[in-house]
């Protein structure tokens, strides 16, 4: 599901005299329409296709009017491509500032999937201003921010861009401040906690939170997931919107997977009793029941069966992949022992060409290459530039970080770190950091049903770094006392106390966390937990 669907679906567009919708591809458009409108992301590739289309039409002598709408930003490079191809005069270009997409009550997505690769990998900073203007928009909607904390080079840039926009552009603020604290985290120097499949995640930890698992297995796009027929137990696939409107989902999404089945079965039982209520009803009660409750119950029933189906599918898939063993390996790597078993386990996985977990251990780069394809030569260099991979010429092995190559095997698109890559750049750094911030809880029996801290998102093994950072900084209200930590994370931290004219009543409780480069569902779950504990309401835009 694309962001466009969330805003205007096909029927709405048709009401506005849109004839047909096509996907922009490299082939001519067969249509009798006089005007063509392209709504695209500003990619050079797409623009060259459009130029080809226009030139093709010109060659055929067809006269049409073209309009290109770039979203969220119009880039100079795209226009210069148009200019070079001699098409600039035939099209009119426009920009649709589509900055924020509310995915849920407390999550806003910036929908910038290229942010990570462009900014951290290619070093291209073109999205900095876009993110800055999103902040600007939030500022104008919700009032001035009282305090802004941030860490990371890009975070600083984004903040500066935001400040610059405040100065040069008209800002209308709606009065009182509703957001008290803003936290900007970027994923670059934060080499400890880096990407997941589509955005940063936590080092080599598989997700075990329900929402995370759903994402892993079925892929959530724009808050929507498609369940295939074997899940829905019917003969067609179903698209489900996953947010807090879905009552069943909102209760299980942050739960550890082990709790989910219990919860679902309990829910099924309560649902059944609600249905059974109707046995003892007379006509009048029945009427009210049917008009009022029945619909809600039926809805819940449907959702429940969907989620049960999804859970079963996930269980099946995970047991196939020796999920338990995977988790165990991850945990031991986090704690740093039994490394040899871990390595052989990983090697095994490589040889079988299945997703291999991360580790910070020596391995043969050649092996990975031969197993997953040579395109990954580029991936490795990308990893190296990101500081995720280190070469250490010892006798015969190169010590480096592995990639979680889940979809690399299939996609085989090198240089595109859209797959799970994560790593410990500097092994020592991670250990030091984890000690200082107590990222690995030293509790023997971790009770997942009544979790005490955020580590439950990874079965009690690990607290996501970013969440821990947020917790600490908000507690102290500054970066004081955390100098060592910031040094390990390569610095660039800042905090700014803005001039909040009159903090509104709510503002005490609202925190805005901006993840530059995306975040995983596990982190979101951890943050929600933190929010509940501290009585604050977090509110999270992420770039993916």
């Amino acid at each position: 599901m694309s962001p466009l669907d969330r805003i205007a679906n096909v029927s709405t567009l048709k009401q506005h005299e849109v004839d047909k919708l096509y996907k922009v591809e490299h082939k001519p458009i067969v249509s009798t329409a006089e005007q063509l409108c392209f709504l695209i992301r500003p990619r050079i590739q797409t623009v060259t296709w459009i130029c080809d289309l226009v030139n093709y039409d010109k060659a055929l002598g067809r006269v049409r009017r073209y309009k290109i709408i770039f979203t969220p930003q119009k880039f100079f490079a795209c226009e210069s491509v148009l200019e070079e191809r001699g098409v600039f005069g035939d099209v009119s270009c426009d920009q649709w500032d589509f900055n924020l997409l509310p995915v849920d009550d407390d999550i806003i997505s910036l929908e910038l999937p290229e942010f990570f690769t462009d900014t951290f990998l290619a070093g291209d900073q073109r999205w900095v201003r876009t993110v800055g203007s999103s902040l600007h928009l939030l500022h104008s909607l919700f009032g001035p921010f009282s305090k802004v904390y941030g860490i990371g080079r890009i975070a600083k840039m984004v903040y500066e861009s935001f400040r610059m926009q405040l100065q040069t552009e008209e800002t209308r603020t709606k009065g009182d401040a509703q957001i008290e604290n803003v936290f900007i985290i970027d994923r670059e120097d934060d080499s400890v906690c880096l990407c997941d499949r589509r955005g940063p995640g936590d080092p080599f930890c598989s997700q075990v939170v329900y929402e995370g698992l759903v994402d892993d297995v079925f892929r959530i796009k724009c808050g929507c997931v498609e369940f295939s027929p074997d899940v829905t137990a019917s003969d067609k696939s179903v698209k489900v919107m996953l947010n807090s409107q879905d009552k069943v989902f909102s209760e299980i999404r942050n739960e550890h997977f082990s709790n989910v089945f219990g919860f679902l079965s309990q829910k099924a039982r309560t649902l059944q009793t609600s249905y059974d209520k109707r046995r003892g009803m007379d006509i009048k009660q029945m009427k009210t029941f049917v008009s009022g409750e029945l619909k809600g119950l039926k809805q819940e029933h449907r959702l429940l069966s969907l989620h049960i189906g999804a859970s079963e599918a996930m269980m099946k898939r995970k047991t196939k992949q020796d999920f338990q063993e995977l988790l165990r390996t991850e945990h031991s790597m986090l704690e740093g022992f039994e490394l040899r078993e871990c390595i052989s386990f990983i090697e095994d996985h490589i040889n079988r060409q299945v997703p291999a977990p991360l580790c910070s251990a020596p391995y043969r780069r050649r092996e990975l290459q031969t197993s997953y394809g040579f395109d990954h030569l580029l991936t490795f260099s990308s990893l190296k530039t990101l500081g995720l991979v280190q070469e250490q010429q010892t006798a015969e092995t190169l010590s480096a970080m592995e990639t979680r190559v889940g979809r690399l095997v299939n996609d085989r698109t090198a240089g595109k770190l859209t797959e799970a890559i994560s790593s410990l750049a500097k092994k020592s750094n991670f250990r030091a950091l984890s000690r200082k911030l107590h990222l690995v809880p030293k509790v023997e029996d971790y009770d997942l049903h009544v979790p005490k801290d955020m580590a439950y998102v990874f079965s009690g093994a690990y607290v996501p770094l970013s969440c821990r950072l947020i917790e600490q900084v908000l507690d102290r209200e500054s970066w004081s006392g955390m100098e060592e930590v910031t040094r390990l994370l390569n610095g660039h931290e800042f905090n700014v106390t803005g001039s909040a004219s009159s903090p509104g009543a709510d503002s005490q409780r609202r925190v805005l966390v901006l993840f530059l480069g995306g975040c995983t569902f596990s982190e979101i779950a951890a943050l929600r937990f933190l929010a509940r504990e501290k009585g604050q309401m977090p509110f999270r835009p992420g770039t993916q």
């Binding site: 100079f76 462009d118 290619a122 040069t168 552009e169 031969t370 394809g373 040579f374 030569l377």
Partner: protein, 436 residues
């Protein structure tokens, strides 16, 4: 008569020519027309207007002063954005300035960042100005602006200078992936992150025809890669070359219908561009018995690419299991020792072996052999129970002298079967000293 010509106007930029024709004061009523032409550096802005005089002895002020006041108050001829202008007007000021003709590099960059329309950078003709422009762009942190400036510079500088300027200025942490795509032939690599040779290598992904891709890869080998990378690129080329040969031969064989194996197990996909391990698997699958001389023999592949034993073993095992040729699987393991006995050795743990066999639906007679070889007794027990290798379970329990478990297990076994009888015999065997 005030002539506001020189006092408030910076003569450096603008030359004003004011010609007026005025009526001497003693004449009472006359039309006064004033022609004012103001020349600016980019064009002529002229106004003409007339006024009507009413009375005498009034010192006539040039109506021009009103105009000049208007002009002067906006400080048109000064360079900086006037800070007394309210915020919404500052950019409009820049637009005006641009029209009038002079934005400083800093303002140009601001205007570019604000993305309100096109900004002409042509006036920055000197190299110093260009570099200054770049400096401001970089400090502004907006990638789009940086790209715009770089595109401009590339267009207006010669190739050599374009390559050289990098020594004059270091552009930190910026990549111009746009420009890279557009002008890859530029000798200088602005791509901060990927080295130029890798960037070129990356191009291979865009080539769909396999022969062209192979030739392209060949040309890439000579690029200055690091030693490790160079070896990998070489391998990539060699592999693709092989794959093309194998693919051609095999599709021919398949079509002609002569080869049995392709009839029995039709090919699902082409081997081109697959990773090495997959290629190995394929070769084991279809060409296991070929001699080492042939391109498609797995041993040839193994030697050329120095495949590790573990990798080779895993692939071979999977492929042979898929083919269900259990005797071949067996021969993988056996090795003749110098005494002439053959014993089984495996680079993989037997547990893993059993897994692979099981996934390929090996019959239990085959599985039993390998489960028996698992070293760790607990693992062996678990596997045996999972795959219903009753004998092994029974024997393990007997070795562990665990009577209870044996009794429990008897219930799981089929009634009246051999296994049940065996268990009963064991339980009745008074010679065994059970521990429970």
């Amino acid at each position: 008569m005030d002539t506001p010509s020189s006092t408030n106007i910076s003569t450096k930029l603008v030359s004003t020519k004011i010609s007026t024709s005025l009526v001497p004061t003693h004449i009472s009523t006359r039309l006064v027309s004033t022609h004012i032409s103001i020349y600016t550096s980019t064009g002529l802005v002229s106004t003409n207007f007339t006024t009507k005089l009413v009375s005498t002895n009034i010192s006539i002020r040039l109506v021009l002063t009103t105009i000049s006041i208007r002009l002067v108050s906006t400080n048109i001829f000064t360079r900086s954005v006037p800070t007394n202008l309210p915020v919404p007007f500052r950019l409009k000021w820049c637009v005006f300035q641009d029209f009038v003709g002079d934005l400083s590099p800093e303002e140009t960059v601001q205007r570019l960042s604000a993305r309100k329309g096109h900004v002409a950078m042509e006036r920055f003709r000197s190299l110093q100005d260009k570099l200054l422009l770049l400096d401001y762009a970089v400090s502004g942190n907006d990638g789009n602006t940086i790209t715009a400036v770089l595109i401009f510079m590339k267009r207006t500088l010669s190739k050599e200078l374009w390559g050289e300027w990098r020594t004059l200025r270091y552009v930190p942490e910026t990549s111009q992936s746009h420009t890279a795509t557009l002008w890859c032939e530029s000798g200088c690599s602005l791509i901060g992150r990927l080295s130029p040779q890798l960037l070129q290598y990356k191009e291979h992904l865009n080539i769909s025809d396999e022969n062209k891709r192979r030739d392209f890869l060949k040309s890439c080998i000579s690029l200055p890669f690091s030693a490790e990378d160079a070896a990998l690129v070489q391998d990539h080329f060699t592999l693709l070359e092989r794959q093309i040969i194998i693919e051609a031969a095999d599709s021919q064989a398949e079509k002609s219908g002569k080869s049995n194996v392709f009839q029995k197990f039709p090919r699902k996909a082409s081997i081109l561009n697959m990773p090495l391990i997959t290629t190995l698997y394929y070769c084991v699958y279809y060409h296991y018995h070929e001699s080492e001389g042939s391109y498609s023999s797995p041993s040839n592949l193994r030697q050329t690419f120095k495949v590790s034993e573990k990798q080779f073993f895993t692939s071979a095992l999977s492929a042979l299991s898929k083919l269900k040729s259990w005797s071949e699987v067996d021969s993988l393991f056996s090795s003749k020792s110098w005494l002439g006995f053959s014993r089984k050795k495996s680079p993989l743990s037997y547990g893993r072996v059993v897994d692979i066999l099981h996934k390929n639906s090996a019959p239990s007679s085959v599985l039993v052999q390998y489960v028996a070889l698992v070293e760790d007794p607990e693992q062996r027990l678990a596997l045996a129970q999972k795959h219903k290798c009753h004998d092994i379970v029974i024997n393990t329990f007997r070795d562990m002298k665990d009577r209870q478990m044996l009794v429990q297990y008897r219930d799981k076994v089929e009634r009246g079967s051999d296994e049940e009888r065996k268990i009963t015999d064991l339980l009745n065997n008074s010679q065994i000293r059970w521990k429970n």
